[in-house]
Symmetry: C2
Subunit: 460 residues, 2 copies
């Protein structure tokens, strides 16, 4: 089995395992107690906090351990917004943040706050100027990820942090994907991360709040972790998280070079050996281990199953693989193709042979899925009226609407249009993306009796 989904969860690092086992016997007691077992637990907790703070680049008393990265984000955003309530009720996030950030923004809006979602370029990166434009006198907080979890694109965090400092607005950085690779540069105010992304155990998040940042804890009072993370501390896991962070940092520089070479190889070779593929994300400013691409005319779930059968565990931002029927908000914000989407995120220490085997298997897997989906469009579904051809793809899930569009575009004259009727959310993203890839004109979306009509003009 080759596990290529480290961006979801990394396998436990050997150092984490070792530290966890060692501290199961030493760290189970209540660190608030004065007796021997309590003092021992407190010492382990204090040492872990110092190690984590050093890796984050903050003071130990600025850092608390939460029960997950999601909790760190939820608590960090809620606390910072409440702490600056008097300044205003405006929040800035990028459109490609992790769902924990975006759901926090929605919760804030539900309570009467307003949120600005900063758009991204086709690479997935925000422009520093967009954050400058979004800042307002009533901005209480801005959030920006250090790097994107779906496509690996690094964000200009240091420049945005500088900008926010000048404006007097705290910046919360979701560093979940990057903290194992190095500290976040720039004058950030709050930082959240998650241990199981860097090879630590599940159940540990990190929340750093710089001294001087106004912060008002929300929810019931709890005295643990400076009042910022309710519940009994999970010290064995915290010790393992801190020890493994230090360990992956020691290996980071060399491993980054190695993984960058492997992901560059995937980027180049996928584009070369898989027809009709779009490799997405910034080609240069990106995390070492993540590469993402989308395959036209491919059902993401079927491709994942095919790859799983071949022994590869990858994930996908296609709507076909989720229960929600909407494609990844990241791919949507980037305006790239979502169908047949595959994210490869290599764990540290991955073997080069496994990557080569993946590249050998992928073209056949994609071709196989396309072949299964390649049934000709039924004649009754296409209906030429003058220069317009109507494709009825109602009730059909991605990638069928795009496949049907591609099959009939040659049947209308150049300058003529194809009207695709679809009630699949993914069509809204994938039909324009197909037009861009195929250099056809996307005329626009029109309301229809059921779903929408997507109009495409043949240019060549």
């Amino acid at each position: 089995m080759s596990y290529f989904d480290a961006a979801s969860a990394a396998p436990l690092h050997p150092v984490a395992r070792q530290a966890l086992l060692a501290s199961l016997d030493e760290g189970w007691a209540d660190p608030a107690r004065l007796y021997r077992e309590g003092r021992r637990a407190r010492m382990l907790l204090d040492a872990a906090r110092e190690a984590a703070a050093e890796a984050v680049g903050c003071r130990p008393d600025e850092l608390v351990f939460t029960s997950s990265g999601t909790r760190a984000v939820h608590s960090g955003i809620a606390g910072a917004l409440a702490g600056r309530r008097r300044v205003g009720r405006h929040l800035i996030v990028s459109a490609v943040e992790h769902s924990s950030v975006l759901h926090s923004a929605e919760a804030f809006e539900a309570e009467g706050g307003t949120a600005t979602r900063v758009p991204v370029a086709r690479t997935g990166a925000v422009a520093v100027e967009s954050y400058a434009d979004a800042l307002r006198p009533d901005s209480a907080l801005a959030c920006l990820q250090s790097a994107n979890h779906e496509v690996g694109t690094e964000q200009p965090v240091a420049a945005v942090a500088e900008l926010c400092r000048e404006a007097g607005v705290p910046l919360l950085v979701d560093a979940a994907q990057s903290l194992g690779w190095g500290p976040v540069e720039g004058p950030w105010s709050l930082l959240a991360a998650s241990a199981h992304k860097w090879g630590g155990p599940s159940g540990v998040g990190v929340l750093a709040v710089r001294k001087g940042v106004r912060f008002a804890v929300q929810g019931p009072v709890d005295e643990r972790e400076s009042g910022r993370a309710a519940g009994f501390e999970n010290i064995p896991a915290i010790v393992a998280a801190a020890a493994s962070l230090r360990a992956v940092r020691a290996e980071a520089a060399a491993e980054a070079v190695r993984l960058r070479e492997l992901t560059a190889r995937i980027r180049a070779r996928v584009a070369a050996v898989v027809p009709d593929v779009e490799v997405v994300g910034d080609p240069l400013r990106r995390l070492p281990g993540i590469v993402t691409f989308s395959c036209l005319y491919v059902d993401g779930e079927a491709l994942l199953h095919e790859l799983d059968r071949e022994g590869f565990s990858v994930s996908s931002g296609s709507s076909c693989t989720s229960s929600t029927l909407t494609p990844s908000h990241v791919l949507r914000a980037m305006g790239v193709l979502s169908e047949g989407n595959v994210r490869v995120s290599l764990p540290t220490g991955v073997a080069e042979e496994d990557v080569e085997r993946f590249l050998a298997v992928l073209p056949g897997a994609v071709a196989g899925v396309r072949e299964k989906l390649g049934a000709p469009v039924a004649v009754t579904d296409a209906d030429v009226r003058g220069d317009e051809l109507v494709v009825d793809a109602l009730g059909k899930r991605c990638p069928i609407p795009v496949i049907e569009l591609a099959k009939v575009i040659g049947e209308v004259p150049v300058g003529g249009t194809v009207r695709v009727l679809s009630d699949d959310e993914a069509a809204r993203l994938d039909i324009p993306a197909w037009c861009e890839m195929r250099e056809q004109e996307y005329v626009g979306e029109q309301p229809a009796d059921r779903g929408s009509a997507y109009v495409v003009r043949r240019l060549s």
Copy 2:
């Protein structure tokens, strides 16, 4: 070392350790993913949920795993109150709940809700009639612990649950202290518990919400654990929690008999061998492993240090051992002595010899602390005015005010009064408790320039 503080955190059960190790390699992946590692993680999670639900006595789809017992309580109370917002904004709790429940009640009041705190008898138990009296047409939720964490008294949960069902008000049971011993009886609606109390690992709580209970999750949306516990699931710890719950349940009946005998022995012997001691909590309706007593004229922290030096880890509800300067809200609500308070909570498997050694060491430890504190009251501190003697104990921490009272009571004639000036919060509890133990009359508390004046009339 004899660890006698299982009610704070139990050492890891061997079965928990074994299950944790086994699932570190199998349970680290994202259970929401479709590939092999994800499916394996999902299977482990599903099996753990079934085992835990069986032990709790609910359906698997009624139970979620949280990151701690505190989180289970916070989320359970907030969700149930929000789910029944239209019914009303009234909450009922007992006065001796765990701080996570009481702090939730305070947070609810800060948002405009009202909370009734049901008083307890001197045993620490609530009366069923008191819950009947507290129920109102606008009651959204009632909370009652299955047993008290500080004194071990069992609460009449089944009867209160029946009462609440008749009134159509959901009852949340905090079963943190009792779940390892058996399921909670009666028609409860919500239940919260914490794995590290039964020998499971830190980082796992349990929240059960019966079908049909109106429940509205608070905070940002998160799809994990039916939306009721945000953040990546800590599956190895969850597996260990469920496995150890099953294991301790298998041993519970036999171990309960053994521990009951040991705590009964402590109750009897402490009262016999330590002078001026009050053993608190219900002598019969109590948890098997908890026994609590308070020693007059003893500084709780000094006694804990003395016992720690002798190799015993116990905890205390005395204000002298906490940073907050207020004595335990449980002892206060019971109206019992708080000074020199010691809670012994025996872990399962504790050796009888260790208990015997504790009973052998305790009288000397108490006597030693009393001797150190026994300096005679300075003549200038006591000032007889007619039949009233004034003791100035301002600036002196518990148990000094009570010691000074005890020393001078013989100096006033029967019928005369002693006026103790004190600014220590514990005096408000401990002076009346001393009067009850010594059969003197507690006249009352009067305002003073600094602190309060506590007036005691000599009866004998």
